[in-house]
């Protein structure tokens, strides 16, 4: 009896020790994290990621600086008064680099391996706009050295100078056009995974030309050819509202537009700013009701005591399934108007383009065109000088491009229009003179995690970019 027990215990012990020699199989593999997925499985999230960044954080910061929004609570209250902390910018970098561009670059690598030319082209268009937008917020940003965390163990990407980023943007767009115009290649075709155009290569080619025009325009202060370069792209670009470059969100609570989500989850942090509201009221702008929801506050006797201007009860840009607009036909026409005026001095052509721009915007936003409004607001002839004419174009663009990413802030830095008075109390350690900021601080994550490369750790918000000199 005893011997049996003894043998048993000894046997179990030695068996256990032997099996303990360290083969664990897939015990340490996380079943929720597959080792690989197809390029097509990545595209939808990468597209949604960029739209979330552009339609969320970018629209908000631009809108707050441009007095389209007023921050009334929390960090938005600070941002409205030009107090922006480095950590306020952590999110947008994460959204752009991690949630969007890295997936897009991953798709690009796969597409190149698999010879999917059209996918390659589409991806390059989105990468170009993503990196270009980021540069318009921060100036120098990592690109050539970025997205190499997995492939090259590069955790400290160097920064590309803004001028080089702009070259990259144009190069990417040129390559994209070439890829999209050529044959599809042997790999999987671009199709339903493309949530924006369903694999329509012509649409992407138009977008690429349009973006080229946009980024040429951004360099209008520093490049004498900017206007003519932009004009030369317009003919191949977006030619109707139906072709607008935008991402449309869904109607489920887990697929909602970012501006809608912000309004729902952080109601009371932002309302429409008086500057923007007053401008539209003064112009009797037909888009007023599509951009602003005046909430009449009544007392218990039904007497209206106040009006709160809200953006968040279902305006054009803040419905659950609203689009995030990257670039619209209206913007094409505003570019044309500005370029005709500034490059060619052709006031008539500028005026026609401006009419088209306002018309496009009205029909996009409210579905109809108030001809009298168009005429009244596109009259350039009667203005005294080009400065006033530019002001007229840019002021209309300021209304029409409300909530189009960063564009109105970029236009303001580029042209000085619209003529805004800085908010009071806008002076702080990073913005000593209290003027409207020209740049944003690099995110805290870059300062902490990429300290040897980040160009500026203690920013001056009035320090101007390469294209803003």
């Amino acid at each position: 009896m005893k011997t049996i027990k003894y043998k048993m215990i000894l046997g179990i012990t030695s068996l256990a020790i032997l099996t303990g020699a360290c083969e664990f199989g897939d015990t340490n593999v996380n079943p929720a994290i597959p080792a690989d997925v197809s390029a097509q499985a990545i595209v939808p999230a990468a597209q949604a990621g960029l739209a979330f960044a552009v339609g969320g954080e970018m629209v908000r910061i631009s809108g707050l600086f441009m007095q389209q929004f007023e921050g009334i609570n929390a960090q938005q209250f600070d941002n409205y008064q030009y107090l922006v902390k480095a950590s306020d910018m952590d999110g947008v970098w994460r959204r752009v680099y991690h949630n969007s561009l890295n997936p897009l670059v991953t798709v690009l690598r796969k597409a190149q391996d698999e010879d999917s030319k059209h996918t390659e082209g589409m991806v390059k268009v989105l990468i170009a706009h993503g990196i270009g937008s980021l540069s318009d917020m921060f100036g120098d940003v990592p690109y050539n050295d970025a997205f190499e965390g997995l492939t090259e163990n590069n955790f400290f990407p160097t920064y590309d100078e803004q001028e080089d980023v702009y070259t990259t943007v144009q190069t990417l767009l040129d390559e994209a056009i070439m890829a999209l115009e050529g044959d599809a290649g042997a790999g999987p075709a671009l199709g339903a995974d493309d949530l924006m155009y369903g694999g329509d290569t012509d649409a992407w080619i138009r977008v690429a030309h349009s973006l080229k025009a946009k980024y040429y325009m951004h360099t209008s202060k520093v490049d004498a050819d900017a206007y003519s370069n932009a004009l030369s792209e317009l003919g191949d670009g977006i030619s109707s509202n139906a072709e607008d470059f935008e991402f449309i969100f869904g109607s489920g609570p887990n697929e909602a537009n970012p501006q809608y989500q912000f309004s729902q989850d952080r109601g009371g942090n932002i309302q429409m700013d008086d500057t923007f509201v007053r401008l539209m009221l003064d112009l009797d702008d037909p888009r007023y009701n599509a951009f602003v929801v005046p909430i009449l506050q009544e007392d218990d006797n039904g007497v209206v005591v106040d009006t709160v201007f809200s953006f968040d009860v279902g305006t054009y840009y803040s419905m659950i399934n609203s689009p995030v607009v990257y670039m619209s036909y209206a913007e094409m026409k505003f570019i044309e108007a500005e370029a005709e005026l500034m490059e060619n001095g052709d006031i008539t052509a500028a005026e026609v383009a401006l009419q088209d721009a306002i018309t496009a915007s009205l029909s996009k936003i409210i579905g109809s065109v108030d001809a009298a409004y168009v005429v009244a607001n596109s009259d350039l002839q009667s203005l005294t000088d080009d400065e006033a004419r530019l002001g007229q174009i840019m002021t209309q663009k300021y209304i029409a491009l409300y909530s189009h990413g960063l564009e109105t802030w970029t236009d303001f830095r580029r042209t000085g229009f619209p003529d805004l008075t800085p908010v009071s109390g806008g002076n702080n350690a990073f913005n000593l003179n209290g003027e409207i900021p020209r740049r944003l601080p690099y995110p805290q994550t870059e300062i902490d995690l990429n300290s040897s490369n980040v160009p500026i750790t203690s920013p001056d918000f009035q320090d101007r970019f390469w294209w803003d000199q």
């Binding site: 996380n30 929720a32 969320g56 949630n99 997205f147 965390g149 955790f155 912000f262 218990d300 902490d448």
Partner: protein, 1087 residues
Amino acid sequence: MKKFLLLSFLLPFITVVVYAQQRVVSGKVISEDDGSGLPGVNVLEKGTTNGTITDVNGDYSISISDGSVLVFSFVGFESQEITVGARSTIDVSLLSDIKQLSEVVVTAIGLEANKRDLGYSIQAVQAEEVARSGETNMVAALAGKAAGVQVTSSGGTAGAAAQIRIRGNSTIIGQNSPLFVVDGVPIDNSTFTTADSPEDAVSDLGSGGVNNSNRAIDINPDDIGSLTVLKGPAATALYGIRASNGAIIITTKRGSNTAGKPKISFSTSATFDRVNKLPDLQKRFAQGNPVETPDGSGVFVPTFQSPMTGSFTGFSWGPEISDLRYSTTPSIWDRNGRIVLASDPTATDQLVNAYDNEGDFFETGVTVNNHISVSGGTADVTYYLSSGRMDQSGIIPNSDFTRTSFKATISANLTDKLKTTFSANYINSGGKRSQNGSNTSGVMLGLLRTSPTFDNRNGVDPDNDVSAYQFEDGRPRSYRGLLGDRAIYDNPYWTVYKNFLTDNVDRIIGFAQVSYDWLPWLTTTARVGVDTYSDFRKFRNDIGSGTLPAGQIVNHSISSTDLNTDILATISKDLSEDFSLNATVGWNYYQKDVDNRRDDGQGLASRGFFNAASASSISSVERPIKRELYGAYGDIRLSYKEMLFLNLTGRNDWSSTLPESNNSFFYPAAALGWAFTESFDIGDDILPYGKLRVSYGKVGNDALFALTTSGFSQARVRDGWTTPNGVIFPALGTNSFIPDGQLGNSELKPEFTTTLEIGADLRFWRGKITADITYYNSLSEDVINLVDIARSSGFLQRAINTGEIENEGIEIALNSTLVQSGDFSYELGLNFHKYTTIVNAIAPGLDVITIDPFGTQRIQVGEPYGIFFGTRFLRDDQGRMVIDPSDGMPLQDPVDGKVGDPTPDFTLGIRNTFNYKGLQLSFLLDIKEGGDVYNGTSGVLNNFGVGEETLDRNEVVTFPGVLADSEGNPTDQVNNIAVVKGGTDGGTNFYQNYGFVNLDELTVQDGSFIRLRDLNVSYNLPSKVLSNLPFETVRIGFTARNVFLITDYTGIDPETNLTGDASNVFAYDYFNNPNTRSYGVNLNITF
């Protein structure tokens, strides 16, 4: 002390064979020192193996042959031999033996050792101390009770987690919590958050959620028999990596030989909790803001704004409340009517109330705890059966926590060599929890920010009247009004009655142990332990809430199973007269399996319909964790003449979480003790016993689950402002994946901590004072880290092992009987701890890791662990503030810097115990000197104009300092710009000038405190009263917790932590739920 020590090792030493009983002798063994009954005394019939041990009260009963001599022996006492003669009752009084006086402690793997034989630091905590702390969470109960142990509760919420650290932090992303071991079986002490993906872990820290429990809360303190704290690697090496941060060794109560007579013990207590401390809020100024007068003159007047005036403002920068009146116009926002200026034509003469919302909110929590146990046994079989039930209602309305436990431990000697023990503990726990933290549905956020002119209760009792927090149509009522049909901040009553979480845990902890004595000096033991539980949680967020107005229902289920097997052989032999040997070799297998599923349903069909069927979209996350570990270990203890003691320990582990090439690792420890008083025969009275000890030990640690590979994860995109919303795939008609943010590392290797420990155990004045002094220095190297990486790399984090953390500290545990006079005694116990934790390295090219949600707490090379780093005033080289000439405000330094260190200068627990006959008074003073706390709450409350500090808003001040030039550089010109501090004249508001949470320099505060942590009075009924009652002992007691707290800290408590034990963030206060002060009575009866 002795009584308790012995309880812990009663059972294994029972080696009784019963022969030729002829008659029974019984009696009581007491201590000569204090007359208390001594449990666990060996009573042996001389010259035979017949024996027994005394029970908890020192009583024994033994069958003997005639003419026997009984030997009473007990560690720490001089043995006595008594000839029985014809007596049937023999009471014995034992004299303590100063030289022998020692503690038997349970060390790793359940091995018992005499503390004097150990070359490392180990500290016992009396089970009684745990029980009488009045804490429901045994981890919280350890606060202040052992040197080197720091405990922080996450708040006074019922069932809230407590974070425990032994000797500070040693790793960066891994667990810094010690291992909890119950009866030799490691148990799970996880705290699972409701974070829905690893990627959101950080943002979810900030976004609040509820105070979850750490799972050690399931251990019923009433079942604890003894508790030992193992601190350094020399002590814990046998437990291996899981005890790399120390271990809390719990031995539960067991039965003893009562000659078959069952011993019944019953205890009951009722405790009443009140909120302990709240931030001070102003009650003088109304909701609103300075508004420019309509005449355009540029004059600003603080103006009342609220939902009544159509404003969404959250601020209380309005007019003096005394200038306001209720008007004759009714209002849905206040039962007294609209609030208007006294000059308004509709104004009545009724002054406007300044509501005490925060004072009215908290309730008296009641905890009722009942516990009954039946124990006893014969020489061969002993048993302990218990049942406990604890019902706690929180100080927050509609919050509660209950725990029901059943426990059975049965030991049987099947033969004189084969011994078995079985134990099973079933626990059901859980409750109703409300949210806190940075969360528009957090209780404290909505409560503290409320303007004093708004009544959160709406003049009714929210317990039975929903009109406090909702309108007739179900829309929420809160001080910032309604946006359409939803709240901006939730009314705290809405939060607690609608947006709560319920959890329900079913858990079984059990073990089976078989040991066999092959030879008198050789025993083998096999022990299998299981700890398995399921935790089902349901979180509700009703339609119209500030967070996610569409409504949300989360079903979260966690099931976890830990399986632990040890097989060991122990040799215990005197090699010669001078040498004795104690050696153990063993093998360990550990497996952990966690299934974690979370179904997040958003968009509810209707209000209050909290079922998955109500959600219009459901996204599911399935996140299992698996790990396996094999260990082989050995331990040798050699002693020479009871004077020199040598311990050698080694363990090799094979872990599944490391790459195959690196998954085997060995670590040794050595400890040497020298009882120098034995060598030199130093004077008996002054220093009867002294031992010096030195140990050097190394302990390894493996990685977290699944850090060795990279892959793709199901995509979700959101920003910090839209959590818990976002685009969560599958969405937009498709599923989608992106490269996972976490980069694995196939070359990970184990991390190691080596510790040098030098100490002394000293006993002075006939043992009236004992002191354990320990210095330790430990170095953690190759620390496995999941470091953040620049987002521009495309990724968020990567696994790496390069970190280096150095810990150094001194612990002193001192116990003394200062007065011993007749029936009166006064004992003083001190626990002192001072330490520093310095981070020497993180990763190449990386000097900083931010660990908190707001980017203020970080781990930085060359600095103490977890320093606070952030914004501060700009100062010139003489330290003067630099003032902005354009508005007279002190400028912020554009460069952030270190603004605080949470490491205390020292902590000191002082236990005072007075005994007079059956009456005992005991209290624990707990002192922490230094150690900063991040008080984000105060920064925000001041920004909102509700903090008491903002009462000085109208004061005209000239900030001391020098003016800046236009570049922001300091000049020598002294500032002479007078400003209204709160900007109520339309100027810059000091309290809002530096952003939402204000300058970190201002929000980081000194967390020093003196606290009367507990106070207990108990009375044992004297035996002459008892003799008329059917009870053996009756004790009645009064307990109080947190009787007072002296601190300059202005937040809810200098001991608080937003994330409980779910992260390595600590000393972090952001709208945390407050702590409690309690008073209770209890009754213990045995019969």
